[in-house]
């Protein structure tokens, strides 16, 4: 306090204040500056650190931090609870939620998109732009994980040695139950995933859920048979090619849909007979693309977190 008032007085009487001194220090001659900088910077650091250290050491820091965060959480909970109390009840008649939108979706999705599964009709047709973004969320997530975790081959890392394919595979060899069970299960899971994807427009499911099933199947195969076996048909290159092609096809077919729709160009894509697999126009290929992206993403995330490589 005394110091700051002195500084203020100095400044008022056209003397110098600390900041000005610092500037003069900065702009002074080299030798002097060097000396002063050497003196000044440890001192400044020491002072700054001491203030922080003082706060940490005072013993109040931890309890105050914990108490304030608990108080903040409780406040947020109370606020959200109060909000929920005022919200309309589920199924209440006089709300705005049961608006024209949901009614339109329920009544007219079949006639406009040819999908008996309304959800697929909504996410791939009416709100197709959101879903396009959502599949790229998966793509960028997997890209980020590759940036973060994929090890470069030239790295001489002891970790790499321990986690080489052979070392990882050797651990698996003995697991008879897993390998003989997955011999039966893997084809079934794969087939089920394909079924969910292909029937996305007529029954519950679609690209996202079917892709997740296929991805889980690949993870099971990897766990049962090891890296050597799965690398016969699924490598980093496969991942890159499949997801790139699927995303490009997805983007181009959606762009075609956006542009023709917005410009009111009528496209003679037949919606087919509702209830059959080949119905709903673009929905089937879109589901397949989404499924491929999701399956690749699932498997890649797993293997990167487990081994740091493919």
């Amino acid at each position: 306090m005394k110091k700051s008032s002195e500084a203020f007085k100095n400044w008022l009487l056209s003397g110098s204040d600390p900041l000005e001194e610092e500037m003069i220090e900065t702009l002074s001659d080299d030798a002097a500056e060097e000396k002063q900088a050497e003196e000044a910077s440890p001192r400044a650091k020491k002072e700054r650190r001491s203030l922080k250290q003082y706060l940490y050491d005072s013993g109040l820091y931890r309890p105050v931090r914990i108490l304030s965060s608990v108080a903040l959480c409780v406040m947020l909970i109370v606020m959200l609870m109060a909000t929920v109390m005022d919200m309309p009840y589920f199924g209440q008649a006089d709300t705005l939620v049961d608006s024209e939108v949901s009614e339109f979706y329920v009544k007219h999705t079949l006639e406009h998109t040819g999908a008996t599964n309304i959800i697929t009709g909504i996410i791939l047709n009416f709100r197709g732009f959101d879903t396009l973004g959502e599949s790229h969320v998966l793509f960028i997530a997997v890209c980020s994980v590759i940036i973060l975790l994929k090890m470069t081959p030239k790295e001489e890392d002891p970790f790499l040695h321990v986690h080489s394919d052979d070392a990882l595979d050797r651990k698996l060899e003995k697991d008879l139950i897993l390998s003989s069970l997955s011999r039966i299960l893997f084809p079934l899971i794969l087939m089920f995933g394909v079924y969910i994807i292909l029937n996305g427009n007529i029954s519950p499911g679609g690209g996202f859920s079917g892709g997740a099933v296929i991805g889980a199947g690949l993870i099971l195969y990897l766990s049962a048979y090891g890296y050597k076996r799965i690398q016969r048909f699924f490598t980093y290159k496969t991942f890159k090619t499949v997801s790139c092609l699927a995303l490009l096809c997805y983007t181009s077919s959606k762009t075609f849909h956006f542009v023709t729709g917005a410009n009111d160009i009528h496209v003679p894509i037949s919606l087919g007979t509702p209830g059959t697999i080949f119905s709903g126009g673009l929905l089937l290929p879109l589901n397949i693309f989404v499924g491929l992206v999701v399956a690749c993403t699932m498997y890649t995330l797993y293997t990167l977190f487990r081994k740091g490589d493919f």
């Binding site: 900065t26 702009l27 309309p88 705005l96 939620v97 960028i140 940036i147």
Partner: protein, 496 residues
């Protein structure tokens, strides 16, 4: 519908299609591809803004056969077009300016993925600028968040992982609050497109029903986006993230990512809530208080900082405060001033990071401002760029920052009362503090010393020099001919 009206969807799809191709190509190819795509995006944005300003009104672009209220839509008016042009320009120029550093600082195996992430970021911010749908906003906000995190940790430098972790925690909290807000709003109104949301919200507010949940959802969305764009108490992740990333990534983080969030907030407040409801709920007062604290304390933090890059990062905290202060008036003039300040500050800040990097490069890689002595003579263009950027942020006439500060002050004047007084005092204090820390650095870089050579650095950096010169020109142009852009933004926001 004219052919040019398809430009927004082309702006979104072009980088989106480039991203997967970048991810499978060699680094050299993906660099070429992303540079070409960003330059092409600049051309398309420029064409769009020319056409929109000659059209005079806004238009809606259906994403598919079905428009509102059933399907996704884009909404294009003068404000969106100008923000989109700024996004494309900053993306292209910061890629060019940071090209050499990207080559040095990022591992070869990660370069293609770096460009992939840049392209996805460009897509996401363009989509955030144009969207007419709050949920589309959320989807592309997720892409922006992950892309920004990747931009921070792609540089394998100690500390960058820590910075990225901190960034991720804060930003995911922000995303969560934003999503909660959307859920509450959707439960009440049953719509996700801005115009329909506004209609239903007005109906509810006028009938006096569900006012408290509406206020809560506005609060949740505002605070969520404020956390994501680093308003003062939530800014702790910012300095490490900005100063730890490679210069191109720092420019993108400060000028594209946080600005896209704020622009989405402005669109939400004006187009989905309505400014009356926003001021009625009192959320604007909360934002006002935090923004004033941000303006003063962010500047003080910058004054205390000796590392130039961290200083520039801290100045972002104060500038975000300006933008939120303009938003908090809840008036159309305030929103227009905020949008203009988004553009002016982005152009200045995206220039400062490469300029500082070049200055420290000719000073032996030191980033402490004392060590930059005489670097303005060694790298003249970078010195000029630093001076122009610093002056623009301080608010010296004939530069972009001056124009936007005038408009913010005018908006404060329109509001009147105590708020005007506090805002003007905050503006004045912050301007003085800006002068303190920027002038100190400007004086240092033009101050000769015996140990510091004054001869020009022999190394040629054509991309950095070219990009910085273009940045300088843009800043000066924005200061001198800023009026038409401001008028375009103002008329389009009035008509929103």
């Amino acid at each position: 519908m004219d052919l040019w009206q398809n430009l927004p969807v082309a702006l979104i799809i072009l980088p989106l299609a480039c991203a997967p191709i970048c991810s499978v190509s060699k680094p050299r190819v993906s660099r070429m591809l992303s540079l070409c795509a960003s330059v092409f995006a600049v051309l398309m944005s420029a064409m769009l803004i020319l056409n929109v300003s000659s059209l005079g009104t806004s238009y809606v672009y259906k994403m598919g056969e079905y428009g509102a209220p059933f399907g996704n839509e884009l909404f294009i008016s003068g404000a969106e077009a100008s923000v989109s042009l700024m996004f494309s320009v900053v993306m292209a120029l910061s890629l060019f300016a940071g090209l050499r550093r990207i080559g040095q600082e990022i591992d070869d195996s990660r370069k293609s993925l770096f460009y992939t992430v840049c392209m996805l970021l460009l897509t996401a911010i363009q989509a955030l600028a144009f969207t007419n749908d709050i949920f589309t906003g959320f989807v592309f906000l997720e892409i922006t968040t992950i892309a920004a995190g990747a931009l921070i940790f792609v540089r394998s430098k100690e500390g960058s992982l820590f910075a990225a972790m901190r960034y991720m925690i804060m930003n995911l909290l922000g995303s969560g609050l934003f999503l909660l807000g959307i859920c509450v709003f959707y439960c009440l109104t049953g719509h996700l497109l801005f115009p329909q949301m506004k209609e239903s919200a007005l109906l509810l507010v006028e009938g006096g029903r569900y006012v408290r949940p509406i206020a809560a959802s506005i609060l949740l969305i505002t605070i969520g986006l404020a956390i994501k764009s680093a308003l003062y108490p939530f800014h702790t992740w910012l300095p490490n993230a900005y100063s730890g990333a490679t210069p191109a990534a720092s420019s993108m983080l400060s000028s594209l990512v946080s600005k896209a969030y704020i622009f989405l907030l402005i669109k939400f407040l004006v187009r989905a809530v309505g400014t009356e409801a926003f001021t009625m709920t009192g959320v604007n007062d909360v934002v006002f208080i935090y923004s004033v604290i941000a303006i003063v304390l962010g500047s003080i933090d910058a004054v205390k900082e000796h590392n130039v890059r961290r200083m520039v990062s801290y100045s972002s905290v104060a500038q975000i405060g300006y933008i939120f202060m303009a938003v908090s008036y809840g008036s159309m003039t305030g929103m227009a001033a905020a949008t203009f300040h988004i553009i002016a500050h982005s152009l200045a800040k995206a220039m400062l990071f490469p300029a500082v990097d070049r200055l420290s490069e000719v000073s032996g890689g030191n980033e402490n401002f004392r060590d930059l002595r005489g670097s303005g003579f060694r790298a003249p263009i970078a010195g000029l760029a630093f001076v122009v950027g610093a002056f623009s942020i301080t608010g010296i006439p004939f530069l972009g920052g001056f124009v936007s500060k005038i408009y913010i002050a005018t908006a404060a004047h329109d509001y009147g009362g105590w708020v005007m007084l506090i805002s003007l005092i905050a503006l004045a204090v912050s301007t003085v503090l800006n002068v303190l820390y920027f002038l100190r650095t400007v004086l240092t870089i033009y101050r000769p010393g015996e140990r510091y050579p004054l001869t020009r650095d022999p190394s040629k950096r054509p991309f950095v020099t070219g990009a910085l010169m273009l940045f300088v020109l843009l800043n000066v142009a924005l200061g001198i001919w800023g009026m038409p852009i401001m008028r375009l933004i103002e008329t389009s926001i009035m008509a929103w």
